[in-house]
Amino acid sequence: MGKLKMEAAVLSQRQLAADIYSLVLKADEIAAQACAGQFISVYTGDGSRLLPRPISLCEIDRAAGTIRLVYRVVGFGTESFSRLKEGDRMDILGPLGNGFMKQQKKAILVGGGIGIPPMLQLAKELDCEKSIVLGYRDELFLNREFEPYGSVYISSEDGMHGVKGNVIDAIKEYGICGDILYACGPVPMLRGVKAYAAEHDISCQISMEEKMACGIGACLACVCQTTEVDGHSQVHNKRICKDGPVFDAGEVDL
C-alpha cells in the first residue's frame, strides 16, 4: 500500500498537561502499516499555513484502525490542532520514515519531553524486559500509561518528580542497566544518551527531528550530519524524514 495522504476523522482529543494534547484519529490505511518510531505529516487546513507538521505516532491500534498523536503546542499549527474536536477532519500523510529496529534484548527506553510519546508504542511492541526512563521539564504526562510495559523511572528538571535533573541522572541514580538503548528527545539529551551508550558499549538507536517541508525525502530540508557518506547525495547528510527519523546513534554527529 505505501504511504498516502488522507483525510482522517478526529475520534477524541484531550489535554494531558499544559500545552500537551492527545489526539486520536481514525486512519485505517496508516494504522495498518505503521510501526513504532514512524511519524505522520499533519496539515493545518489553513490556506496560508501550508507546510505539514511532522508528529510522531504515540500509539497505533491496527484492530481499531486508529492512531494517537501526543504533541506540544508550540506555534500556529499545533495550536490549531489543539482546537479540533470529535468529528472534525484533518489531512494527514503517512506513515513516514523508518521506525525503531526492535531487538529482543534487555532494553532501556528513554524519552525526553515531547520525545516521550513515540516511546509508548515502542514499549508496547517490544516483548522483553524493559526499563523506561522519562525526562520532564516539570509537569508529568503519559507516565502512568507506560507502567503496564516495564519499570518506569522519572527525572524532572525542577525535581518535583523523580530524580532532579535529566534522564542520564535518573539512569545513574537508579542503576538502570540494559543491552540496548532506544531514545527520543531534544539533541542535548540524545548527545548524553549516545555518550552513555558508548561508555557502556551497548547499542543505541535515537530518533531525530528537524524542520521538514515534504516529509518524503525530496526537499532535503531535514538533513542531519552523519559519519558515513549518505546514499542519496554522496555527502554526509542523511535525510531525517526518509533515512530516519530513527538512526543508530553511531551514525549521527550530534
Binding site: 498516502l4 517541508a213 518524503i216 532535503l220 538533513v223 547525495s233
Partner: protein, 304 residues
Amino acid sequence: MEQPVNTSVTIAGVTLKNPVTVASGTFGSGMEYSEFVDLNKLGAVTTKGVANVPWPGNPTPRIAEIHGGMMNAIGLQNPGIDMFIRRDIPFLKEFDTKIIVNVCGKSTEDYIDVVEKLSDTDADLLEINVSCPNVKEGGIAFGQNPKALYDITKAVKAVAKQPIIMKLSPNVTDITEMAKAAEAAGTDAVSLINTITGMKIDVNRRTFAVANKTAGVSGPAIHPIAVRMVYQTAHAVKVPVIGMGGIATTEDALEMIMAGATAVAVGTANFYNPYATSMIIDGIEEYMKKHGITDIRQLIGCVK
C-alpha cells in the same frame, strides 16, 4: 462525443505531452514522488540541480514557513553528476516523460563539465541554474548581470548537445533585460522565476529562522509576481518561456499559460500536496473541454 483536446507543447524541438513539469528542487529526481504520482503522466520531470561534484548544501535549519509559502536555503545539496548519470537518469528513463536536468555550478568550468557529461545521456533538455540565491559562489552571480549571463549562456550553448533553458532570477531590476541577454547568447528557452530572496527572524530564538540568514521565498504568495514577470518576458523574447512561481492549482497554471508560458512548473505545492501535478494536468484538460478549447496553444499568451 467530446472533442479530443491537444495538450502537447514543444520547447526547442522537444515535445511534452502536456505543459506541466515540476520546479527544480521540489521533486528530487521523481523517485520519492513516484509513490504518489504516475510519472508517465507528467509532461516532463525537472530534476534537482546537479553539479560536477557532490555538494553538501547549507547548515540546518534550511527552511521556514511564511504566510502562503515558505523560504528555503537548501544550498543545492546534490550527489554530483557521475552518480546522477548512473542512478537518476536510468530511473527517469523508465517513464514516458521528458527529462529536464537542472545544472548548477560555481564557475563556468563547472557548468561546462556537467553539460559535457550529460551530452551522451537520455536528458532531453538542460536547465541552467544561474539564479539560486542560496549559494555564495556562482549560481546567482551569473544571473544578476546581463553581461555575465550572456557569457555563461554562450559558453554552455557552445558545448551543450541538448537544447538549453536558462533559469532566470527575479532578484533583478528588470528581468526582461536578462531574458534578452540569454536569448542573444543563443539560449533555446528561458524559465522563470527562481525564488525571491527574503529573510525571516525567529523572535523566540532571536536569530535567523534559516541558518543561511537569507533564503528564497516560494509558494502561492509569490505567484502574482511570477505571472507578471512571465508576461513581461514572453513579450520581450521570442524563445519559449517556462513559467513557475507559486503554482498550486489549475487556475494558477492557466494564468501562467495565458500570460505567455509555453509550459509551467509546479514547485512548492508538491511539498504539501504530492498529487498537485496530477491534479493540475487533469484540471487543464477539464478546463479546455469545458471551454471548447481544442489545442492548448490557443491559450498560450492569449491574454495580451
